[in-house]
């Protein structure tokens, strides 16, 4: 167990830099961000810049008969209006496979699909021009039911099944004495980052383009943009602009291609900034899920079998549905041993908005189901739910349902025990101030009708890319005149990778100052995606390797040039020193005018696609976490206040305590939001709440304190720094824990997340009486909860 130092710097002595690994090093962009001077993608400007605006379909399914641009072109200040016929290269794009049109031209498959783009001298002019485009639609009934779509006419030439993963393990007819079953659903969550999609495209003299954009993976953007523009890769230079959060929503392209097209057509810089409403239409969401589960167990509580059928609504286009669905299948049973498994996970195409990556992708949905099943099984067996989980918990050497052996660390029992041992909060609903009760400032119900509940959940998922993907990261270290510069195309989205890169360089090279080069597709290879909890391991590994190589070259050079023994030389506090103290020069002096530059590529251990039975070594490493939620529920209004979330997480090694804590608290806040308030509401495929007025995320009054009961530090074999990615696990089981706590408080089944007030209030309400409504004192008490 680790005690976190969250109060800023920690003094240390010895070789390690004060701001090296394990320390609360400060983020290098913290100062400009706090001053309001950090340049986010929406803050960019260029001489002669135009503003771009996309026109999006208001219909979820329609044939396009005609698009009339004349009204837009007549508006003074409009410089260009583009449609599908203006795309010079490939007309489609996509992360996994290009099935999504840059502009819809014949068919619209979701509400929000772009049809045209305008460039004008003022954002209002651009918006008015987009509205002046007349589209003649033949509106169709949208296909929005993810199960009906399996037997419906295809809505895309590639069909309605986006991806299916089946896992068969052991004896399909095996069954234990005790069986529990359930249907579960999760809704469509939005990443809701604060910085809206935005970018600035600047046409270059060579006929190419420089794009400054907020994204998660510069090189995969470059590949897709270049194909659509029909330009060679080196003429599409993608530069990272300041990213205001991502959480998966920036993995897919948003307006990158359309923006570049406008700039190339007009010959002027063009900027697009989405409004919040457009942002809700303009990026992928978390897949909604429908899940059926049956577990059987022996009477002693050991799992015998799991069967699960899982349907994910992928919306209109593929996006990252394969990776999401693979995760849902692989992690369908949670971190528990089971010898017999049948799992079928399918992502389907509908006329709903496209779904793709979001923090914890695929694992979040199934965790909600498998943890509800564990609680049901514990109740059926009359075993304590914590004890049931411990009896089945994975440990190193165990096999996943895909047959892969857990060769790395798997402290599942440790996170369960630690989290369960956290003391419960001392306050009760009787003593809390009004503002801290369910409903807060708007509260109208009775304090006596507030019930407390406690819930527990455990989750896990893979780190890095899986299933045979060639996953690597590139980084460069340059030492010139005593100054260290680290360059990588890895994307900083807020998580603090920029801090970590500096910490690594400080440790390896014994310096305090480390400069970071520009993140761009120019002059450096891919760093891979900032997703799947992979950058600390992957780009951390590449930076570490590049710095080690520079260190070796420098010390060899010093050894030769100054005729000192290589063995005793060390880099300490910006100096090259020998162990006996006889040699001591500054880095600058020791370099003697020579520049040392090394570029390193880091690859993780290989993985493979699953076989026809869904068996194989598909993943590299796994991270585990447990969450315990405490809630207060207003039984009459159905409102929930999350009082506290306690957690324990498997982190491998703590690299920066404060930044790690920020990942835990931030990830849990998104899990809490998904449990009780966050859902994109669709009506025939149309998003009905595309604003922060109606899509609500936790405020400072909604978000409870987080108790980090333990960080389990067991260095992970194969991880270059011993650490495991920590960004996703906080979002996996926190939602399940909160809903379990609401079940505990209310006695209701609550098979769906998020839990809406009506799910509680209507289920607990007595039939509406005739005449004046009864007082709360006459209403029946909540069902007694199972502790």
């Amino acid at each position: 167990m680790t005690t976190l130092d969250t109060r800023g710097e920690t003094e240390t002595t010895g070789r390690s830099s004060r701001e090296g690994l394990g320390r609360n090093a400060r983020r290098p962009d913290g100062r400009p961000k706090a001053r309001g001077q950090f340049a986010f993608s929406s803050d960019l400007e260029a001489e002669g810049m135009l503003w771009g605006q996309l026109l999006r379909s208001p219909h979820a399914s329609a044939a396009i008969r005609r698009i009339d641009l004349s009204g837009a072109l007549r508006i003074p200040g409009v410089v260009a209006v583009l449609t599908a016929s203006d795309v010079p290269g490939r007309k489609t794009y996509g992360l996994d496979y290009p099935d999504q049109p840059v502009f819809a031209s014949e068919v619209v498959r979701y509400a929000g699909e772009p049809l045209a783009a305008v460039a004008a001298d003022h954002p209002v002019t651009a918006r008015l021009a987009a509205e002046a485009i007349v589209v003649d639609y033949e509106v169709h009934e949208p296909l929005v039911d993810p199960e009906a779509t399996l037997v419906a006419e295809p809505i895309h030439p590639l069909g309605n099944v986006l991806f299916r993963q089946v896992i068969r393990r052991g004896d399909p007819s095996a069954a234990g004495a005790v069986s529990v079953e359930g249907h579960y659903e999760t809704g469509m969550q939005d990443q809701a980052f604060m910085g809206p999609e935005s970018g600035l495209a600047v046409p270059a003299a060579d006929g190419g383009i420089d794009l400054y954009v907020a994204t998660q993976w510069l090189h995969v953007d470059q590949d897709q943009i270049a194909a659509c523009l029909d330009l060679p890769l080196d003429m599409v230079r993608v530069h990272l602009a300041g990213v205001g959060g991502a959480f998966g929503a920036r993995e897919d392209l948003s307006m990158q291609v359309q923006l570049c097209l406008l700039a190339l057509r007009t010959g002027r810089p063009v900027k697009i900034v989405y409004s919040r409403e457009e942002s809700f239409h303009g990026h992928v969401h978390r897949h909604p899920a429908r899940m059926w589960y049956r577990h059987t167990a022996d009477t002693d509580g050991h799992l015998v079998s799991v069967q699960a059928r899982i349907v994910f609504d992928g919306g209109a286009y593929l996006s990252s549905s394969p990776a999401v669905t693979l995760n849902a299948a692989c992690f369908a049973n949670g971190p528990y041993n089971v010898p017999n498994a049948f799992v079928e996970a399918t992502a389907v195409r509908t006329n709903n908005p496209p779904c793709g990556a979001m923090r914890g992708f695929g694992a979040v949905q199934v965790c909600f189901a498998h943890e509800a099943q564990m609680d049901k099984l514990a109740a059926a067996l009359e075993i304590d739910p914590i004890e049931l989980r411990l009896r089945n918990a994975y440990a190193t050497g165990d096999q996943l349902i895909i047959g892969q052996v857990l060769s790395g660390t798997a402290p599942v029992a440790e996170v369960i025990r630690a989290c369960a041992s956290a003391p419960l909060p001392p306050t009760t609903p009787d003593t809390l101030p009004e503002l801290a009760l369910p409903g807060g400032a708007g509260r109208t119900a009775e304090r006596a009708r507030v019930r407390r509940g406690v819930g527990f959940a455990v989750g896990f998922k893979n780190l890095m890319f899986s299933a045979g993907f060639d996953d690597y990261s590139t980084a460069r270290c340059r030492l010139e005149d005593g100054r260290v510069t680290i360059t990588s195309a890895a994307v900083e989205v807020g998580q603090g990778l920029v801090t970590l890169m500096q910490q690594i360089a400080r440790d390896v090279l014994g310096v305090d100052e480390v400069t970071l080069g520009e993140a761009a597709t120019v002059g450096i290879g891919s760093a891979g995606s900032t997703s799947a909890s992979r950058q600390s391991w992957m780009t951390g590994g590449a930076v570490n390797r590049a710095c080690q190589a520079v260190r070796e070259r420098l010390l060899s050079s010093v050894s030769q040039r100054f005729e000192v023994a290589r063995a005793g030389l060390e880099l300490v506090s910006g100096r090259v020193v020998s162990a006996d103290g006889s040699f001591d020069l500054t880095l600058s002096e020791a370099s003697a005018g020579e520049t040392f530059e090394e570029t390193a590529v880091f690859r993780h251990e290989g993985t493979a696609e699953l076989d026809e039975n869904g068996q194989g070594k598909a993943h590299v490493s796994f991270a585990f976490a447990a969450h315990r939620a405490v809630v207060d529920v207003d039984l009459d209004l159905g409102l929930v206040k999350v009082v506290e979330v306690a957690t324990a997480q498997d982190v491998g090694r703590v690299l920066n305590p404060v930044q790690l804590l920020g990942q835990l608290e931030g990830g849990i806040s998104q899990g809490v939001g998904f449990a009780v308030m966050e859902e994109i509401v669709l009506d025939k495929g149309i998003v009905r709440n595309p604003s922060f007025t109606d899509y609500i995320i936790p405020t400072a009054l909604d978000m409870p304190p987080v108790t980090v009961q333990a960080l389990i530090e067991q260095a992970e074999p194969g991880s270059p720094l011993g650490a495991k990615g920590a960004g996703e696990p906080p979002s996996i089981s926190s939602t399940a824990a909160v809903v379990a706590a609401i079940r505990n408080a209310t006695g209701l089944d609550l098979p769906r997340a998020p839990v809406r007030p009506q799910d509680i209030a209507l289920a607990l309400a007595e039939p509406r009486p005739q005449g004046p409504s009864g007082t709360s004192a006459t209403r029946p008490p909540a069902k007694e909860a199972t502790p």
Binding site: N24, R26, G36, D43, P196, V273, R276, G494, E665
Partner: protein, 166 residues
């Protein structure tokens, strides 16, 4: 009116921002204060996260009152005293105590909400130098943050309170 002149649909006027009169030329009447601050005056510390008064990323102080710049008509702010995050930030590359506490405590991740929080918390700590944690939570409940879960932000406020001034 002396401070406001029109040329057809376009307006010219001046705004008093962070103690200085700043000229705005040939603006559309409908431009909100956030747009004018960002795009006409180059003050991009106020952020554009929702543009409908829900997220607090564009928080400014107008005549001593905390407002969302996106819901204020810029031409309607003529003659009023506007303070933005730039006005609460020391010259050079210095930090106020509150800003320093944000950086030290880990309250900054992506940073898009940070300037708005600095303005909201400056307003709170000016009115109420020693708020309880619940008062702080209520005061910033109009400032959405998606990265931090607010924990380190609350720690930063505590640290700034200990220093005794915003």
């Amino acid at each position: 009116m002396e401070q406001l002149s029109t040329d057809g649909a376009l307006l010219s006027y001046s705004l008093r921002v962070n103690g200085r009169e700043q000229a705005v030329h040939d603006a559309l009447l409908g431009e909100n204060l956030l747009y004018v601050l960002r795009e006409r005056l180059g003050l991009r510390g106020s952020k554009n996260a929702c543009e409908q008064g829900e997220c607090g990323a564009c928080s400014v102080i107008i005549d001593g009152r905390l407002e969302c710049a996106c819901t204020v008509l810029a031409a309607g702010a003529v003659g009023r005293e506007i303070v933005t995050v730039e006005g609460l930030t020391p010259e050079g590359d210095g930090l106020s105590d509150l800003q320093e506490a944000f950086v030290a405590a880990g309250a900054v991740q992506c940073g898009f909400c940070t300037p708005g929080l600095i303005v909201s918390l400056h307003d709170l700590l000016t009115r109420s130098p020693d708020p309880s944690e619940l008062e702080v939570r209520e005061a910033i409940s109009g400032n959405l943050c998606r990265c931090t879960g607010y924990g380190r932000i609350l720690e930063a406020v505590k640290a700034a309170q200990e220093k005794g001034r915003p």
